[in-house]
Symmetry: C2
Subunit: 341 residues, 2 copies
Amino acid sequence: MPKTSDTSPPRRVTAAEVAERAGVSISTVSKALSGRGAVRYETRQRVLEAARDLNYQSNEVAVSLLAGKTNTVGVITSDRLGRLTSPVLLGATETLAEHEIALLLCDGRGDRIREQYFVDSFLRRRVDGILVTGSGIFGRDTIRVDLPIPVVYAMAWSKDSRDASVVPDDGAGARSAAEHLLATGRTKIAFVSGRRDDATTIRLANTREVLTSSGLRLAHEPLIGQWSEGWGRQAGLQLLKSGVDFDGVVCGNDQIARGVVESLRENGVAVPQAVGVIGFDNWDVMVEASRPPLSSVDLSLHEVGQAAARTLVEAIGGDGMQPGVRRVACHVVPRESTSTA
Amino acid sequence: MPKTSDTSPPRRVTAAEVAERAGVSISTVSKALSGRGAVRYETRQRVLEAARDLNYQSNEVAVSLLAGKTNTVGVITSDRLGRLTSPVLLGATETLAEHEIALLLCDGRGDRIREQYFVDSFLRRRVDGILVTGSGIFGRDTIRVDLPIPVVYAMAWSKDSRDASVVPDDGAGARSAAEHLLATGRTKIAFVSGRRDDATTIRLANTREVLTSSGLRLAHEPLIGQWSEGWGRQAGLQLLKSGVDFDGVVCGNDQIARGVVESLRENGVAVPQAVGVIGFDNWDVMVEASRPPLSSVDLSLHEVGQAAARTLVEAIGGDGMQPGVRRVACHVVPRESTSTA
DNA sequence: TTGAAAGCGCTAACAT
DNA sequence: ATGTTAGCGCTTTCAA
């Protein structure tokens, strides 16, 4: 039974060894490699060569200890890396990578105790900042006051007004969605969403606002159920059976929208000819599989992650941090479910 | 414009400060807090109290430097944290958290150059091990030979036989799927999958094997297209138009299965009465939204992540590591699309 | 039982 | 231009 450990692992090379091989002192090695001190060209070449020969890799742990910073940020996610959190996280990794900052990932599972535990762990590991992210756009409790490092919330914004948060501007997104339906000639708009939470409330309010300012109102009471296709189908049927006249539906997410579209189609109502339907999230799998493909509001989650990371990096850099909730623009991605062709 | 930085961040407390407050030496503080040295009960109480009062948090960077290990592993994912990678990652975080090991996350985007860059970054940061994960169950190149730390691959297995990988046993999964169809009374089985890759090849071969050993064969040439619902619908139609008699379909993933189910249903073929359909992945969103709900092969991705992390932790602990590909059992989750009611 | 001292690997003043 | 020295914050011998 061969074990990988048969071959003893290569020893870790230190600056001292490089120094010896290059015939210089340790500090000269440091200067030569960092390019920060005055070193004769020829000497530097010798050092570089020695470092390469020995495959030297500086010990960032030592550097961190000395510098008092680790070029690392901690990320606490409260959901299980769902389809909403992943793009946020990915956007953050990209921006952080550009700054040579690594990312420690923890899943707090929305449990305060676990979160506190991870925050403490981050502090002991001397991360330079913390990013908190959650699956939905909802207000959450602050992670802790009086932290020696900056904290930024992404998606799930902090209810503490002293904290900085970055979220998609889904209010404006809902406005765009409603305006898009109006722009494609619909005037009798219905609204279907999932649980009555922050997102639903804001989207509903903004949808109503747009209608009101056009002298219109919702064609039917808002239908609130679950965030699922099943509910979308049910809601679609309910709309049909209600007998109210409607020609457009704003849906709380793409699954609901897809369900609505299906139930309409299966009951002989043409989408988009008779009714235009628009969803939220712009989730590729859903919008593409739907027949017809769904128009949807893209939440710019990637940008949210990037913006949150950028804010954090700036705060770490000592530029201070604007508290409050920052909103990143959403945009309508029109597809066939609302086209006027 | 108030800035968070107005209030200067609390200074970091060191063991020296705790020592001073407790009226003991630094080394006594270390012993008292770690519980590793001989300290008088009363002294320890004083130290503990001082530490609590000052809100002392040991600097793990210093500890790491001294110990020569960081209790950190690096994770390189090659896809963008998709629905397949996320559960693997989550499983890994859980197991690692149990061992007080933190996780540095990088997205290599499947780009060798970026991957190498991140590996080097991990090495400089002195991670204790590396976990490599990718979106699909396919063979990939090794990350690098001669690394001073253990590496484990999850999902995307390494083609280098000296590496250790953990993957779902989707071959056995396919066998279970086929057997499940046989067990529910189907004998004329068709096969629909996405791109002809490792996963498709293995699943097809194993499906055939099951049929063969029951004296059966595929009812129709394997249909290979894309990993989408659209393709599933198309394939379903193709099967119907071909005129061949079939009463069961093994599908490469849940999206395809859902497409197949839909096209059958829309063309008057009852699922599961006339035809049983089973998918792969057991993706909640898909299996639940399908009408009827889909039976599917669960890939145990969470367990794959856990197993990979456990393997890595053991290797870090110096227990050596069994090279080769380890397969984690998959299991059929029966739902209505194959029921015999 | 406690403390002094050495040192993990590195950088940055300060000498030379 | 190069080397010497003094730490970063901690753990761990080793003396007392």
